[in-house]
Amino acid sequence: MKGMGKIFLHEMKKIGKEKSLLFGFLVLPVITLLFTVGVTLLQPNTTKNDEAEAYVMYFYGMDVETLNVGMMDEKEIWIVSCEEEPEEFIDSSDFHHCDVLVDYSDIFNVKIYYYESDAVSSYLRMSAESFVRQSYESIYKDMKKNVSFREVEMEDIKKKDTSNLMIAMLLPYMLILPLTANISNFAADTVAGDKARGTFYQVMLSPVPPLSLIMGKILSVSVISLLSSAVYITLDVLGSRICEALHIKDAFGFSGVTVTVPQVLLILLYAVLLCYLFSNLGVLISLFCKDQNQAQVAQLPVTLMCTLASMLSMFRLGISPSSHYLIPVYNICLIFQDLLNARAKMDNMLLVALSLVILAAAVLVTTLLSYRNERVRA
């Protein structure tokens, strides 16, 4: 790997000398963050169901004691008996879109009124249905005095209490978007830009082996992009901590997040792998482009696919089967989420690392073969 270090240092120095590049990689994430935070602060504290003081399950035709049965979105859920006729009550201002009314007036035909469009009402409807079932079931079981039914027990096997659900959902997106944008910019500049400026050939003519030249470029792209993302995430975390210390609403999203050192290190490890892969792809595409503009356009599908993969991971609700850990980029998002939710499994982590390393090696070999291509060298 002769000359790789020199090329790497040279590329880093090039950025250091270019104030606008420095601005782009380090100051821009800060501005982006402040802008996002500013917008977040505009968010009103009220929710959609703010007119309702609590969520209520009304029961008509059945005497129930007014009872608090739990909490949801910082509001209490109550069971309340309803005196008014159901048809009239659902049109009154007392019945909110988040409530549910169970009509027991005909014990052979129970009617449940609710709003499917409202998540709370839908949830309460399901509870009401279960309630109806359970009430009939317990009457039935009481009737069968000489039969013993098996007890139903619930067991929550949650391994660890993590409050990182939200950030686990957002982090892949927060990390991948600036990363791909930066890499696309810098890879386009370092290869296609050099070609357009005529400085690439001077290095090609030197006795540096292609592997060193390519690796030097890739590493510099990776390091600077990683650095830029690190600045972004660090500031985000700091912002959250400051908000917490000052007891004000956290607009940065990291409030209440608890991560251990191994978690951070593992996330970093995967971020490095991901960064390397992106950078190599960026360099590979840029090799075939005449100038920076063309390279950026050509890299757009890759950037887009990565953004979409990270977006899709935001909708992941359960545990993914092993096969999902083989989908590039998406699998990194899954690992980030698993790590933050303290649910990462060693075999999945190895699978992701292995698949990324194989992919990275394949891309590197393709890059080296492409380097010999006359379209690159002409």
Binding site: V147, L304, P321
Partner: protein
């Protein structure tokens, strides 16, 4: 004759685009594919978020057969197999099962992980299924007796058509809006960098300066072409999103058609919001494009423009104020929702368009000064 300069520049710029097939593909194919993909993904996610998989572990294969015969029609998401408590964790964390019911000698145990959303979702049905199992395991007759003991159940959904669509629309228009505007912005960026910043880099700027036409007019010609191209990519993106909805979410699409179809106002409203966004996006990128002499610097600063566009598109998610309707780009989601409510209000759309056109005009003046100064 002097008035013809701008169309002349425009014709030449269009020719340049036509001769760059990659640019054409990026301008039209990328927004098309990304919008289609997103809409498909959203409909997939919509089905996905409401579904789960649960498993019931019984002691003997005979029990499995019997319970499956009776319960599989009531609980289609449950699978019935033999197994013990020891198998639970492996099954639960395989990624294919969200909740497990284990039938033991004296108890029926529902095992779930409250930190996994889909696991909690399965819980409601799991509780019912476990209750049914407790009866079924005492005899088939008893189970059938219990079934006939349950009352008839009627569920009345009070939501209006629009309310049913609301959550889906919120998500869909938020995501589609963001991606289409981002595509428009990235197209604007590449075209602006190529046709405005690139003049200096390709050393063709001096030839332009030597022409007896004010630079302002040349920039106006270039900007108008940029505007048309960005508008085209926006139309393609939104069109693809509508087509995608028609293909993958027929039910909601029919509802939207039923509501919006009553009035043709949806078409001008859509065109106005895209045009408004186009004006603003073009304005941002011509200023950035003309402020730099090097493509790499312009591209880098364009990232700031991209952030501005994507955050503006996300504004309605954060702010519920009516004021958002007056902000270009941010007015996308509220307008889409207004279309689906058949309540399009041009009194908010037109001021936004007006503001965007004014910004575009100011941008032309500012950009031509920057271009001239920058290339001295």
């Amino acid at each position: 004759m002097r008035r013809r300069h701008v169309p002349h520049v425009m014709a030449s710029e269009w020719k340049k685009t036509r001769k760059t097939p990659v640019q054409l593909v990026m301008m039209l194919l990328v927004p098309l594919l990304s919008a289609l993909f997103l809409v498909w993904a959203m409909s997939y996610v919509k089905d996905f978020t409401t579904s789960y998989q649960a498993a019931v572990l019984l002691e003997t294969p005979a029990q499995c057969e019997e319970t499956e015969e009776l319960l599989s029609s009531v609980y289609p998401d449950f699978s019935f197999r033999t197994g013990t408590k020891e198998d639970v964790e492996k099954i639960l964390y395989s990624g294919y099962t969200d909740c497990v019911i284990v039938v033991e000698e004296e108890t029926i145990r529902i095992v779930y992980d409250s930190s996994v959303l889909s696991s909690s979702q399965a819980l409601k049905d799991a509780a019912d299924c476990a209750a049914d199992l407790s009866v079924l395991l005492e005899g088939r007759e008893m189970y059938e007796e219990l079934q006939s003991f349950y009352p008839e159940k009627e569920v009345v959904d009070l939501s209006t058509d629009f309310e049913k669509l609301n959550t889906y629309l919120d998500q869909l228009s938020g995501v589609v809006g963001m991606i289409v505007f981002l595509m428009m912005a990235s197209n604007a960026m590449t075209i602006a960098v190529r046709s405005i910043t690139g003049e200096k880099e390709r050393q063709t700027f001096d030839t332009l300066v030597l022409c007896p036409v004010p630079l302002r007019k040349i920039l106006l010609g270039k900007s108008l072409v940029l505007l048309q191209e960005v508008f085209a990519s926006g139309i393609v993106g939104i069109g693809a999103a509508i087509a995608g909805m028609a293909i993958w979410n027929r039910r909601d699409f029919t509802t939207v058609c039923r509501i919006a179809g009553r009035d043709i106002a949806w078409l001008p409203a859509l065109l106005i919001i895209i045009l408004t966004a186009t004006c603003l996006i073009t304005a941002i990128f011509i200023v950035i494009g003309s402020a730099f002499a090097e493509a790499k610097k312009a591209s880098l600063f364009s990232s700031a423009g991209m952030v501005l566009v994507s955050v503006s598109a996300m504004l309605p998610t954060f702010i519920e104020s009516d004021g958002v309707r007056y902000i270009p780009i941010a007015n996308f989601t509220p307008t889409i929702k207004a279309i689906c409510r058949n309540d399009v209000r041009f009194d908010t759309l037109l001021p936004a368009l007006g503001a965007a056109v004014v910004v575009f005009g100011i941008a032309i003046i500012l950009a031509s000064r920057l271009w001239e100064r920058n290339c001295e």
